[in-house]
């Protein structure tokens, strides 16, 4: 096997330092663009399903019609007791969900807010900050507020603030983090007794008490969710569905995909980033070939064949992808945290997302290389003379 050690592709890439830096900057920009658009897209799904991930449950019981955590779709509270009766079920935590205008007394702003209410002594949400407030929230007129809630809706949220719901004053006894999203600008958590206290009497109060939005089912050790779900379905009326958290997340994501053009909008954004990347990368590779026409034709005359030249161009594209990805990712880390703090939308990296943008970057540069390489194939060594 003939070995070739001259790093031609690498040397061609880095030879002109200024051009090299601009090349990397150009492709990095496309990488950043793809990351940001992907961040927005995932931000929708991530932030809309964050509450589900926080549910301390093996199985979720929701209304048959429920496909969104932020739309009220209650079911009879009696289902909670029915589920509890099933062997293998350790606990079922009911959650009330409510949309109410919240008045911030400090600045008199009034803005709709999403409320989640449950027995605060139960470990209902897997948010560590909540543990310390269980007892405090049992006091009448208390609530917790999400400190990452959008400032332009509520102003700065701090413990000790006074709020008003349905004309009743409440004290913010503490804060917790749960990102705002496209459904709500902020979250409020309170004890279910305090929520129901907002409807002191009458038919409405009864209605509120008897209908809940979520039932969080905890299984005893050794019981499989799949079997339990089958048993619950067999026993309980069909007005409720039983889902794992993952199934609920998928259901919500599916609803968003179906009802909102998020994939189209941000997907198009990613595509634009991808195409810009191809154009930039193609420009770099094409000029590289164009400037070295005589040199390439010369080595072709000497006896180098097209496969070698193709390899050089593809390699150059590969190095370009590799070297541009790192600064592109680094810039994205900064831009994500900037966007998260200004828009309140969750921007998260996961290995899969980083991996897919890397593959897109690689694909981008390879497509450019394949487009540019045609130029090299056409070069005729007889033209050097």
């Amino acid at each position: 096997m003939r070995t070739r050690n001259i790093p031609l592709a690498w040397s061609l890439l880095i030879h002109d330092k200024v051009r090299f830096v601009w090349s990397i900057a150009g492709v990095s920009f496309a990488v950043l663009l793809m990351f940001v658009e992907m961040g927005f897209l995932n931000g929708v799904f991530d932030s809309e399903t964050l509450i589900i991930k926080a549910f301390n449950a093996d199985i979720l019981m929701v209304s048959r019609l429920k496909d969104d955590c932020y739309t009220r779709q209650p079911f009879p509270r009696s289902r909670i007791r029915q589920a509890m009766a099933l062997g293998g079920v350790e606990a079922v935590y009911p959650i009330y969900m409510e949309w109410l205008p919240l008045k911030v007394m400090a600045n008199s702003r009034i803005q709709m807010v999403a409320l989640f209410a449950f027995n605060t002594l139960d470990p209902v949400l897997l948010i560590p900050e909540l543990n310390q407030y269980g007892a405090a929230l049992k006091r009448p007129g208390t609530m917790l507020m999400d400190y990452t809630a959008r400032k332009y809706s509520y102003g700065e949220v701090r413990a000790g603030m006074k709020m008003e719901l349905r004309g009743r004053g409440l004290d913010v006894v503490g804060t917790f983090p749960l990102f705002a999203n496209y459904s709500t600008d902020g979250h409020v958590i309170m004890d279910d007794a305090n929520l129901l206290a907002l409807w002191p009497d009458g038919k409405e109060r009864l209605n509120r008490i008897n209908y809940v939005d979520f039932g969080l089912i905890r299984l005893k050790p050794g019981f499989e969710p799949d079997a339990a779900i089958a048993a619950l379905r067999a026993t309980l009326p069909s007005d409720v569905s039983f889902l794992t958290k993952q199934e609920m997340i998928e259901r919500v994501e599916e609803m968003w995909r179906r009802s909102q053009p998020v994939v189209e909008v941000f997907g198009l954004g990613m595509l634009i980033g991808f195409v810009i990347g191809i154009i930039i990368c193609y420009q770099i590779l094409f000029t590289g070939i164009e400037d070295l026409r005589a040199e390439f034709a010369t080595i072709k005359a000497m006896g180098y064949t097209n496969p070698y030249l193709v390899k050089v161009v593809l390699q150059k594209g590969f190095y370009l992808a590799l070297l541009s990805f790192v600064p592109g990712l680094t810039a994205s880390v900064f831009v994500y945290s900037l966007l998260q703090s200004t828009t309140g939308i969750m921007m998260r990296f996961t290995p899969v997302r980083i991996g897919s943008v890397f593959l897109l970057t690689l694909g981008m540069c390879m497509i450019s290389a394949i487009l540019a390489v045609r130029k090299v194939l056409k070069s005729d060594p007889a033209e050097v003379f």
């Binding site: 003939r2 001259i6 000497m302 006896g303 007889a382 003379f385």
Partner: protein, 374 residues
């Protein structure tokens, strides 16, 4: 040179390049244009052949055909024992790897060092990394760049870059080197260095060097000079002969005081013609198309007047004739016949007139001579 001659007396030398009846066309259909006409050429080992001729004369096309960069269309061309018309693409590539190519521009990769550029050539063949390193360093030392092995082309002078390009072309010890204007971009001294280098190679490695050039400064390096015009080889002169012609020309009163460059140029355009005893070289009354110098033998000059042919002169070696008809565009004023087996150098009318136009003194002198003759 000695070794070559010794080998040549040993027996017939297999030419490195043998071209027979080569015709070549560019374009297709109505735009089809013939660029080479019945080209025949042999290049033997150790020979430096310089190919000259105006641009568009087909030299470059011939060079690319010999180099396996174009496919032969008609005729035959054998290079280093390979019949080019029978080679497929892969065969052509294999052949090209055995040829050293040198171009007018050095065409080195600016991103690679001199050593790496040379290794580009070595990596076409099976060598260990250590062997490559050794050979690359050796060849760069040989071209006088031992101290600049790791320089990139941009930090080398024009002459040094061309020497790197030559090192790249010769590092695989090719038996055939094809060079296109290798000195055109160089100053006089650098050009000289390059030529000395090539001459050394031809001598020591016995490789054949085919050199296309317009550079008169390097003609003296040639063992043979091939002149092409309009796709045909119009002269293929061993330089020894060329020098002889120049000597004759410089002895002719007409060419006295002409710069050697002009003489060389004229000499290159002259071809040898052989005439057996008794045959007629030119006939009185015919339209003149050539100017002659007698190379070998004896010629009679005969003038027919009133039906009687009379011998007016006998021409000796080095004497010239045939110019009047060309100059005055009329019929030959005399008949010239070979007294014995003779050889003449002939110059076509077109070239003769061109030479005249070029040199005012030449024209003046010629008119003087004619005036004296009358």
């Amino acid at each position: 040179m000695e070794s070559i001659e010794r080998r040549m007396t040993d027996g017939p030398v297999e030419p490195t390049v043998r071209i027979r009846s080569l015709n070549h066309w560019f374009g297709r259909g109505e735009n089809k244009k013939q660029v080479l006409y019945d080209v025949n050429l042999d290049l033997v080992p150790g020979e430096i052949v310089i190919m000259t001729g105006p641009s568009g004369s087909g030299k470059t096309t011939l060079l690319t055909l010999v180099g396996g960069l174009r496919s032969v269309q008609e005729g035959s061309a054998a290079v280093m024992g390979e019949d080019l018309s029978k080679l497929d693409t892969a065969g052509m590539v294999r052949l090209r790897r055995r040829i050293g190519f040198i171009f007018q521009a050095h065409n080195l990769f600016n991103s690679l060092t001199a050593c790496q550029n040379v290794k580009m050539s070595l990596e076409l063949h099976d060598h260990s990394a250590a062997e490559r390193e050794r050979r690359a360093v050796d060849v760069l030392e040989r071209v006088g760049l031992g101290k600049r092995i790791h320089y990139k082309p941009q930090s080398l002078s024009g002459g040094q870059r061309q020497r790197v390009a030559i090192a790249r072309a010769i590092v695989n010890r090719p038996m055939l080197i094809l060079a296109d204007e290798p000195t055109a971009a160089l100053d006089k001294d650098s050009g000289r260095d390059v030529i000395d280098l090539l001459q050394g190679l031809a001598r020591e490695e016995r490789c054949t060097i085919l050199l296309v050039t317009h550079d008169n400064r390097i003609l003296d390096a040639a063992d043979r000079i091939v002149n092409m015009v309009d796709g045909s080889i119009v002269s293929n002169v061993a330089v020894k002969q060329s020098i002889e012609i120049c000597e004759f020309l410089s002895k002719c009163p007409v060419f006295l005081n002409n710069p050697p460059a002009t003489l060389t140029e004229i000499a290159q355009k002259m071809t040898i013609e052989r005439y057996a005893a008794g045959s007629v070289i030119m006939r009185q009354g015919d339209i003149g198309d050539k100017f002659f110098i007698l190379r070998k033998g004896k010629l009679d000059v005969l003038v027919r007047k009133d039906g009687i042919e009379e011998q007016v002169a006998t021409l000796q070696r080095g004497e010239f004739f045939g110019e009047i008809a060309l100059l005055e565009s009329r019929g030959r004023t005399a008949t010239v016949r070979a007294l014995e087996d003779s050889e003449v150098y002939a110059l076509a009318k077109q070239d003769f007139l061109l030479a005249l136009e070029r040199s005012e003194s030449f024209r003046k002198q010629l008119l003087d001579v004619l005036f004296k003759r009358q």
